[in-house]
């Protein structure tokens, strides 16, 4: 699933000094603009995580209000992806500027979930787009999504800009990465 985005200049040369890359990553991880691609039940839990005073995602430095996918760094695909919905998701991902991240929220987006034998459901969005963090659950609690975002931030912090596409996908609950 390794895939390169559009060239961004500095990154391709692979000569980013360490303090600079640390600073770059540090600033990137606390200014994630997340596009909400809410599809099914998980969209409501995502709304609870992003829009409710109890969970309040903005304290993690995540801003859930971009008007378009073209302004977003991160997309949370939450809910059942059907075969009719798969092409728009691919198009959404292609519209996002690099560097971009994908969180797959819920069993349906991960692998089909309770619709594993349905004729119209795509069994996992990783067939269409590369996924950075999988959040399991049906639907996952808002806390699980928040943990997924924290794991993604850790990943961004330790990221080598030159080969950021070579990493393995994360699983929430799979232990910290450092």
């Amino acid at each position: 699933m390794a895939q390169r985005g559009a060239p961004v200049g500095l990154v391709e040369s692979g000569k980013v000094p360490k303090p600079l890359s640390w600073l770059l990553n540090y600033s990137r991880k606390y200014s994630l603009w997340v596009y909400q691609w809410g599809l099914a039940c998980c969209a409501i839990e995502m709304g609870a995580a992003f829009g409710s005073p109890r969970y309040d995602v903005m304290r993690l430095g995540v801003i859930p209000l971009p008007a378009s996918a073209r302004q977003a760094d991160l997309v949370v695909v939450s809910g059942t992806v059907t075969d009719k919905m798969a092409p728009p998701i691919r198009r959404l991902w292609e519209q996002m500027p690099d560097p971009k991240y994908v969180i797959s929220m819920g069993s349906c987006a991960n692998c089909g979930g309770p619709y594993w034998d349905s004729y119209s459901v795509t069994k996992g969005i990783d067939q269409i787009i590369p996924v950075d963090v999988y959040v399991p659950g049906c639907p996952p609690r808002p806390e699980a999504l928040l943990e997924g975002i924290v794991l993604l931030q850790q990943r961004i912090q330790h990221e080598d800009m030159a080969d950021r596409w070579r990493g393995e996908p994360l699983v929430v609950g799979g232990g910290p990465i450092s």
Partner: protein, 390 residues
């Protein structure tokens, strides 16, 4: 009176000027695509709107983006497994989806759940209504540009979900109903906690009334917008609050004989004569209030006893068919279950969900309205995508 040459020339010049003006001002039609992913569509409904300037000429809802093949999946699941699936049809009214199916299977099996189970079912049914319509009450504000109400809605919804989680183990999809009763009894101290939460829900309704219903901008944006006349609404098969807002006094909780405990409580079916977006909001607001009243009264007189009838370990439903419909948060929901007497699940399970019929009025309703009102009308019709496509 004779027409002078001068008058004739002036007339021709006037006609020509008018024709030129008409030609210059003539706008080209535009096709606007709302969705498939749009905040106002509560999921993945796509609406193709043909515009003339600011006005909608015709609108065409394209559904199927959330079709998961429920009716076919129900045929390959066992009866106990189907409840897990159908929880997710209308994901905001989770528990309310299970009840009609379980009632239909109980009717086939000829077993009745004990009274305590029926009362707890009714309580949870109404709590699902609160969780569902409570979010609508806040979300309607978002569609009009007021962000604050949705924070209140999410805040107070959490209390209801906590109660659900305490009793069922599922925060969102309880999967609490069983053929012949319930999974387990209520935990200790749940009843007192529930009364507290009902009080908070009533406060939330008062807050919404102050924030939105009395708000002048809200009233201007919703009063007289998207009017559904009574007969048209009935012709399109609307149900639930959408038809009650058009003045039809029709509620299956009251009108249909059911083993559930609504008849034990004293409550009222609210209607509104106007049929516009405001009426639909207002009726749902009153419905949440009535739900809290129903729950309060049922908690007072909750009968004791078992919550599960005597059932065999292996459910073998006899041959037959049953149709049960109830008044779900979104409207009438019904299951037509056919059993072939085999050891596996239903032979056929036809699901009648409210939203599919409710959005069938969209092409008629959106004709001639202005673009900003499209969002208001869609929000006030209140559909859940899983309920449309199944």
């Amino acid at each position: 009176m004779t027409i002078t040459q001068h008058q004739q020339q002036a007339y021709i010049a006037g006609q020509a000027a008018e024709a030129r003006l008409r030609f210059e001002l003539e706008t080209e039609g535009m096709t606007l695509n709302i969705g498939p992913q749009h905040p106002a569509t509560h999921g993945t409904l796509r609406i193709v709107v043909r515009l003339d300037g600011e006005q909608v000429v015709w609108a065409d809802p394209v559904c199927g983006y959330m079709h998961r093949g429920y009716e076919k999946l129900c045929e390959v699941r066992k009866y106990q497994q189907v409840t897990t699936l159908i929880n997710r049809i209308d994901w905001l009214g989770h528990f309310a989806n299970e009840v009609p199916f379980i009632l239909a299977v109980e009717q086939l099996y000829d077993v009745e759940a004990p009274p305590r189970a029926q009362w707890i079912r009714t309580i949870f049914f109404e709590m699902a209504r609160m969780a569902n319509l409570g979010l609508f009450l806040g979300d309607m504000g978002v569609q009009l540009g007021a962000i604050t109400p949705v924070f209140f809605a999410f805040r107070d919804r959490e209390h209801v979900l906590n109660l659900m989680e305490a009793a069922t183990g599922g925060r969102f999809h309880p999967n609490y109903d069983r053929v012949g009763g319930l999974k387990e009894d209520l935990p200790k101290g749940w009843v007192d906690e529930c009364k507290e939460v009902m009080k908070r829900q009533r406060e939330f309704c008062d807050e919404m009334e102050e924030l939105l219903v009395g708000n002048e901008i809200f009233q201007t944006r919703t009063r007289g917008i998207g009017v559904i006349p009574q007969q048209i609404g009935l012709d399109y098969g609307l149900s639930g609050a959408n038809i009650r807002a058009s003045g039809v006094d029709w509620d299956l909780r009251r009108d249909r004989p059911t083993p559930l405990a609504w008849k034990e409580a004293d409550w009222k079916v609210w209607t509104h004569p106007d049929g516009d977006s405001f009426a639909r909001y207002w009726v749902r607001l009153q419905e949440v209030r009535e739900s809290t009243k129903i729950v309060d009264q049922l908690l007072e007189g909750l009968p004791s006893g078992p919550v599960m009838a005597k059932m065999p370990a292996r459910l073998r439903v006899p041959k037959g068919e049953a149709w049960v419909n109830t008044e779900n948060p979104l409207g009438e929901m019904g299951y037509y279950v056919v059993s072939d007497g085999g050891p596996s699940g239903p032979f056929r399970c036809k699901i009648r969900s409210a939203s599919f019929n409710n959005i069938s009025i969209v092409p008629w309703l959106l004709r001639g309205v202005y673009v900003p009102d499209v969002i208001t009308i869609l929000a006030s019709l209140y559909f859940i995508l899983g309920d449309i496509d199944r």
